[in-house]
């Protein structure tokens, strides 16, 4: 029943993907370069998906352009450096909850799946951790409840998908409906107010001038980056998403790994639930509405391939920050949410179009044209 062949002990399986994730030529290239670090120096981000770095630079360009638009349209606000600093913090705080969810989502998508239930898991974990009974255990009990609920729901998703052989789209869609239903029945459709000052302070307090929520986002992103780029777990994720059959033949327990990816996404949702509950000082079954779409969109414009096998944490983070910056830009200009949503949709399409556009073939095309024109 096990996917691991008897000869491949866990230790060997752990070494395998590090040597040869056979699916991604960029990875093998990066790996071989790492093995022989002679000649050209490697950039520090090189491990984060090779040409992903180039894509990330493009996203930073978009971000700078958005901020420039803000500065041009609202020069009076951008005159004040304190306001600008506060605005950056406001954007990061806005990005923090979706950002944490997106890190988990990025892993799931790189691993070849999709998780439509993240918003519902955030709502369920948020509602579960703010019931009167949970709150009676104090802040520790609330954090524990949110995280364990997140992981458990993620595990159910994972088991259904990897052992129940359900399509991820269907399994997580079912979970979306069911988790929101369970949240509504636990909360009795009421808004549950958090009376824990410790929890509420997470969103209200700053340490060294930076909100705690931003530190949490940073910690999750760094942990996600290390997990994806510097551990066998991350290498296996890329291998499983790129070509599950090749990954299985290489000795990776594909099913167990897929299951763990959904549990990881659930863990991120649990953390996000605490952050969101703290921001709103309350929770209800309808909260975190459509976060699944925000997280998927951010991962996609961050360069994560929907079919799996490729993606970067840094790109996803930039995607989330770009969306938060757009929201902020529309708010400070007093423009309607309708217009904001249209622009968001346009940016998603534009980002995917740009990614399909092959930079190398374009330069080749240019070179050929120059050749033909000169001769």
């Amino acid at each position: 029943m096990s996917d691991v062949t008897p000869t491949a002990t866990p230790e060997r399986a752990a070494q395998l993907p590090a040597q040869s994730p056979p699916v991604d030529p960029a990875e093998t290239a990066a790996a071989s370069e790492k093995a022989a670090p002679t000649g050209n120096r490697l950039s520090w981000w090189r491990g984060d998906g090779g040409d992903g770095a180039k894509r990330n630079l493009g996203l930073i360009g978009v971000l700078v352009a958005l901020i420039a638009v803000g500065a041009i349209t609202k020069p009076d606000l951008y005159d004040d450096p304190t306001w600008v600093w506060n605005n950056i913090l406001a954007i990061l705080q806005l990005a923090s909850v979706v950002g944490v969810v997106t890190v988990g989502m990025t892993f799931v998508i790189i691993g070849g799946g999709i998780d439509l239930s993240v918003g519902a898991i955030v709502a369920l974990a948020g509602v579960w951790c703010t019931t009167v009974a949970t709150q009676s255990y104090g802040a520790g009990g609330m954090i524990f409840a949110a995280i364990v609920v997140g992981i458990c729901v993620g595990l159910v998703n994972g088991v259904l998908i990897s052992y129940g052989r359900l399509v991820p789209f269907i399994a997580t869609l079912a979970m979306l409906v069911a988790a929101r239903g369970l949240a509504a029945s636990i909360s009795n459709k009421q808004t549950q107010v958090s009376s824990s000052t410790f929890i509420n302070d997470i969103a209200a307090r700053k340490v060294l001038g930076i909100p705690i929520l931003v530190y949490i986002l940073a910690a999750v992103v760094v942990a996600g980056w290390i997990l994806l780029n510097r551990t066998t777990f991350g290498r296996r994720t890329i291998a499983v998403g790129g070509n599950p059959e090749a990954a299985r033949l290489a000795g990776i327990n594909v099913r167990r790994h897929t299951m763990l990816l959904y549990a990881l996404s659930g863990l991120c949702c649990g953390i996000a639930a605490i952050m969101l509950t703290s921001q709103a000082t309350s929770a209800q079954a309808a909260m975190a509405n459509l976060y699944e779409l925000d997280a998927i969109a951010a991962a996609i414009i961050g360069g994560t391939l929907l079919s799996g096998g490729r993606g970067t944490i840094v790109g996803s983070l930039l995607g989330v920050i770009i969306f938060a910056t757009i929201t902020n830009l529309f708010a400070i200009n007093g423009l309607s949410i309708e217009a904001q949503n249209m622009v968001k949709g346009g940016i998603i399409v534009a980002a995917v179009l740009v990614q399909q556009f092959q930079f190398k073939s374009f330069t080749r095309l240019l070179a050929r044209n120059r050749l033909t024109t000169t001769t």
Partner: protein, 350 residues
């Protein structure tokens, strides 16, 4: 190898034990026991005339399944008000989550021939035909809040006033600012989900402000949830470094709005809420936040609908009116709850 596998099994045992423990702890955490929820009823003893028991009547009741606090209060109020009368028997049918479901359960209710039926439809247009059918069968319909397009489909319409809510909020803010002598005020608006009722509320708000020569500086729409309220309020505060007043359409999302204001450490303005939730009324009474008033859209209308349905079925008029029968239409005024009158409204908070 055996050493290895034993380690593994011990680890698994520990892990399994921890999982079971966590599960027990978690299942204990779903309880939401709170002191018995108060409902908004009128005691059968107060007021004159109408409360004397009359002939026994059966009142049918159908409203959409409760999906948020306001709708939950509608159900609870109807039930509690009916229980307050010794001569009323309430037959509540499941309104379901769609007009389709509501039509079919209403059909069964009509077949049981109650004396009168109170209906809060999912959508007036879609349930209109069934209500008309009941009226033709001689069962009067009391139409609650969402109005049937056909005037023949109901005996009585009792509804709230969304436009009026905006007007009340606009007048409160306008008057306060005028009294303070602010000439060019910065007014923020945090609306709800962009559905027709929200558009009406905003129109009333703008119209009332215009009579003072003021207008809304920035408007963000949230989704009637506290987390969306926090999100939009945080952005609004960022957009307007100095604010004079804010109107937030809904007290439930207001929990998040107030959280955002506290997180941004702002207090140079005052805020008006909407709906009249218990938490908001308590905060207004305590006067310890920027929330200084809220304008009502009160689910107590369900209680009134039951009271009026009883009178219609018994063929009686309203005590203080000269008319021998109950009038055809009642539109609730959107009242403004402030610190001064908050204690009067405490029992109406939901």
């Amino acid at each position: 190898m055996t050493q290895h596998s034993r380690d593994l099994s011990r680890r698994r045992l520990l892990f399994g034990g921890a999982a079971v423990g966590a599960a027990t702890l978690l299942t204990a955490c779903t309880s939401n026991e709170t002191p018995a929820a108060s409902t908004q009823t009128k005691a059968a003893g107060d007021g004159a005339g109408n409360n004397a028991p009359g002939k026994k009547v059966v009142i049918g009741f159908s409203a959409p399944a409760a999906d948020h606090g306001w709708m939950g209060a509608i159900h609870a109020n109807a039930k509690a008000q009916a229980a307050a009368y010794s001569d009323v028997e309430l037959k509540e049918v499941d309104g379901g989550t769609t007009s389709e479901a509501q039509r079919s359960t209403l059909g069964t209710l009509i077949a049981q021939k109650p004396d009168i039926i109170v209906v809060l439809p999912h959508d007036g247009k879609e349930v209109n035909a069934v209500a008309l059918q009941a009226m033709q069968a001689g069962i009067p319909i009391v139409n609650l809040d969402r109005v049937f397009p056909d005037a023949l489909a109901s005996r009585l319409v009792i509804k709230g006033d969304n436009y009026g809510m905006g007007v009340s909020a606009g007048h409160f803010i306008g008057k306060q600012l005028k009294d303070k002598g602010v000439t060019n005020p910065v007014i923020g608006e945090i609306a709800g989900l962009e559905i027709p009722l929200t558009v009406e509320r905003s129109a009333g708000f703008a119209a009332a402000l215009a009579t003072y020569g003021f207008k809304v500086s920035n408007r963000r729409s949230a989704e009637f949830t506290s987390d969306s309220g926090q999100r939009e309020a945080a952005q609004l505060l960022q957009a307007l470094p100095k604010i004079d007043a804010i109107w937030n359409h809904d007290d439930d999302q207001g929990i998040g709005v107030l959280a955002a204001i506290k997180q941004a450490n702002r207090s140079e303005f005052f805020m008006v809420g909407g709906a009249g939730a218990k938490l908001a009324i308590d905060a207004i009474k305590a006067d310890n936040s920027v929330l200084k008033a809220t304008v009502t859209y009160n689910p107590s209308m369900a209680s009134s609908a039951i009271s009026l349905a009883r009178l219609i079925a018994q063929g009686r008029g309203m005590g203080d009116l000269t008319e021998l029968q109950v009038p055809k239409e009642v539109t609730l005024a959107s009242e403004t709850i402030t610190k001064e009158n908050a204690s009067n409204y405490e029992k109406l908070g939901f």
